[in-house]
């Protein structure tokens, strides 16, 4: 049987950090043998560790790394349908398929995520308002159950399991391989328009006016502005650029390698303080001007932070909390205004805050996005006072009919969570049928009461 390493690991926010028993299987039978042996009470899959909180942690229990399950299985050049193992990263997909004219149908703000993680967290991107989440482009996947059985799940076959697994944060089983559609593109570039919004209402107006014209849209929002300026932001609106518009001289499907930076160690926690963050937000808003048809490479457009490796260390050893909430259209204005007000009153500042309009909800039982607006924030963890504050935010979000995102949560309470996810009971029923002993569980799942604490 394969050996494990007892390691102190954390999510991307560096909070919380927990001692877990980490395994690195390289064949499916390693996993089935391990589960059958009962070596650990629970297991959870872990990809590249980019979920922020404790989604991929298992305190004192098993964590399955997917490093060795990162193989391409099949690619159909006609349809763009790619089959690969769950540990394949978005970075690798881009590296191998963009030069052939294919791109990811949906991507989050980092390419260092795995296919399995993208399904399990049902990730979304700047095109959610038109293309939905990543899972909506997934045709089917193979899931290893607690019993050792491997089942094929799609919208038609084992559909209950399919909808419980997309957004199901790894609790239904281990995703082994998946098939999904890539989209054809002519270039590795985007044609981008920048628009400045004076305040939140103006941003809503601009989103409403532009949503149909652009595949990708997002707003960087200055969350420290107050009064009439509350919610002032810079909208970034883009479409894939046709090859004819790319004037680099070389192959339009390739971009030049850019220098990579690294944050070699945790910065002292005073580096990102209220004043430096304020200065950054001020500068960010004022540097940008309304601009039309700028040609931007995919890396700068989709993954601005990926060029700085380990950027999370800038938040210091204590780490940070990423908070994302979605509000329905009717309450978006009120909910977001209230949220931004509380943030700026509390002096808790976010380095970068992102506002985005989201499209219709899909069938994923624990999938996050629904129609409305979503706001994502990074908040440095300077003191324990942050947690009561976040609970206040949770209540505010729930009171406005909104919800928070599992991939980013590290502090919510079971009651709030259940309140935000009305399909939780349905999810638990599907899980109970395939995994009655909670072989698959995580620190987060126990904290939120998604699975019952055993023993």
């Amino acid at each position: 049987m394969i050996k494990h390493k007892e390691s102190l690991i954390a999510g991307w926010g560096n909070y919380p950090a927990e001692v877990c028993n980490v395994y690195r299987p390289d064949r499916v039978r390693d996993i089935t043998e391990l589960i059958a042996s009962g070596a650990q009470p629970h297991y959870i899959s872990r990809g590249l560790g980019r979920s922020y909180g404790d989604t991929a942690l298992n305190h004192g229990s098993g964590v399955l790394l997917h490093t060795e399950f990162a193989r391409f299985v099949h690619f159909d050049e006609q349809t763009g349908i790619l089959e690969c193992e769950a540990g394949v990263s978005f970075e690798e997909i881009i590296e191998h398929f963009l030069p052939r004219g294919w791109f990811l149908p949906v991507t989050p703000g980092t390419k260092f995520v795995t296919v399995g993680g993208a399904i399990a967290n049902d990730v979304h991107g700047k095109n959610h308002h038109v293309d939905g989440t990543f899972s909506q482009h997934v045709l089917d996947f193979k899931l290893l159950l607690a019993s050792g059985e491997i089942v094929h799940c799609s919208r038609e076959e084992q559909s209950d399991l399919f909808y419980a697994t997309i957004g199901g944060v790894g609790l239904t089983g281990v995703i082994l391989t998946a098939r999904f559609r890539l989209i054809p593109v002519e270039s590795a570039y985007l044609e981008v328009d920048y628009l400045k919004a004076k305040n939140l209402d103006h941003a809503f107006e601009l989103f409403a006016q532009t949503n149909e014209k652009y595949q990708y849209s997002v707003a960087w929002i200055d969350c420290l502005s107050k009064g009439d300026n509350l919610g002032r932001s810079v909208l970034m609106l883009g479409n894939h650029a046709p090859a004819s518009k790319v004037k680099t001289g070389g192959d339009p499907l390739r971009i030049k390698n850019k220098p990579k930076f690294n944050v070699p160690f945790n910065f002292p926690s005073f580096v990102l303080n209220r004043w430096s963050i304020r200065a950054f937000n001020f500068a960010y808003y004022n540097i940008h001007q309304n601009e039309k048809s700028k040609i931007v490479d995919y890396d700068s457009f989709f993954y601005p932070l990926d060029s700085v490796h380990n950027w999370n260390r800038a938040y210091g050893k204590k780490g940070f909390v990423q908070y994302q909430a979605v509000f329905p259209p009717e309450t978006s204005r009120q909910g977001l205004t209230e949220m931004l007000k509380r943030l700026s009153q509390s002096g808790r500042s976010s380095f970068l805050a992102v506002l985005k309009s989201s499209g219709e909800q899909n069938g994923g039982l624990l999938s996050f996005p629904f129609k409305g607006y979503t706001l994502a924030l990074d908040i440095p963890l300077h003191d324990d006072g942050l947690f009561p504050f976040l609970r206040e935010l949770d209540e505010l979000v729930a009171a406005h009919g909104g919800r928070i995102y599992l991939a980013k949560d590290s502090e919510a309470s079971p009651a709030t969570f259940a309140n935000m996810y009305p399909d939780l009971a349905k999810f638990q029923a599907v899980k109970a049928a395939v995994d009655p002993n909670n072989v698959f569980s995580s620190s987060q799942a126990r904290r939120l009461g998604i699975v019952e604490e055993s023993r």
């Binding site: 494990h4 060795e68 193989r71 391409f72 299985v73 099949h74």
Partner: protein, 245 residues
């Protein structure tokens, strides 16, 4: 573009080497026992790099089958430009001290079977007057230690065999490379205690590829193991025998 045969293709270093070669557009012949696993690797390499990758069942201990195996590989590829021997069996030192079957398996896998298959390959390259043999030995073969001398003695024997083979083949222009890896982050070492200065397989593969280019004879990887082993080898035996290494 070359055709490279990799024996023991599912081992950590072998896999990394396969990707390294495929990145340089070499075609690959993967040989080993786990055919399903090799097919999985072959498919992936083909999708990533577009090179030809074939899979060949190979059992190191089936000496009688080695000649047919080699002929079969030659028929598939037409020509073979280089061979990597990457399989090995660490075994259990304590068990090998008490059960001869375990000692035998360690010695046969690491030494005897290598002699059998390398003899065939050497004759082929000698008549062709071209090609390389890259064989993974071990730092454990540099000095006998109580913790792993069964494995170490077999690898030490292999290193000596390769020395002789290099001597024989130098006039034919055939390159024989002995690689002595230190600790590498593979399945064999994951979660094992007492590991230090652990190298990534990709890093080791890159270094080995460079040694093949430069026609190096004997190489430690990562390079600093040469100095670590130099120190270990220079301890006088009357002191060394009392150490618990």
């Amino acid at each position: 573009m070359k055709n490279v045969l990799i024996l023991g293709a599912t081992s950590g270093i072998a896999k990394a080497l396969a990707y390294q070669f495929a990145g340089k557009k070499h075609n690959l012949l993967l040989a080993g026992r786990d055919v399903e696993e090799m097919k999985r690797i072959a498919q992936d390499i083909h999708i990533r790099h577009g090179v030809k990758v074939t899979v060949h069942p190979f059992d190191a201990l089936d000496y009688d089958g080695h000649a047919d195996f080699f002929t079969n590989c030659l028929e598939t590829a037409g020509e073979i430009d280089g061979i990597v021997l990457a399989y090995g069996y660490l075994g259990d030192q304590r068990r090998a001290e008490n059960e001869f079957a375990e000692a035998r398996r360690v010695i046969e896998t690491n030494y005897l079977s290598a002699v059998s298959v390398l003899n065939i390959a050497a004759n082929y390259f000698e008549s062709k007057k071209d090609g390389f043999l890259c064989v993974l030995s071990s730092v454990a073969g540099d000095r006998g230690r109580q913790s792993n001398f069964m494995y170490g003695s077999a690898k030490g024997g292999l290193s000596l065999y390769l020395q002789g083979l290099r001597n024989r083949l130098s006039k034919s222009g055939v390159h024989v490379l002995t690689v002595k890896p230190g600790f590498v982050d593979t399945k064999m070492t994951f979660g094992q205690s007492g590991m230090f200065l652990v190298a990534k397989p990709e890093q080791v593969a890159k270094a080995i590829d460079k040694m093949i280019q430069k026609r190096v004879d004997v190489a430690y990887t990562p390079f600093f193991w040469r100095y670590i082993m130099l120190i270990i080898k220079s301890v006088p035996e009357r002191i060394f025998k009392r150490l618990s290494l």
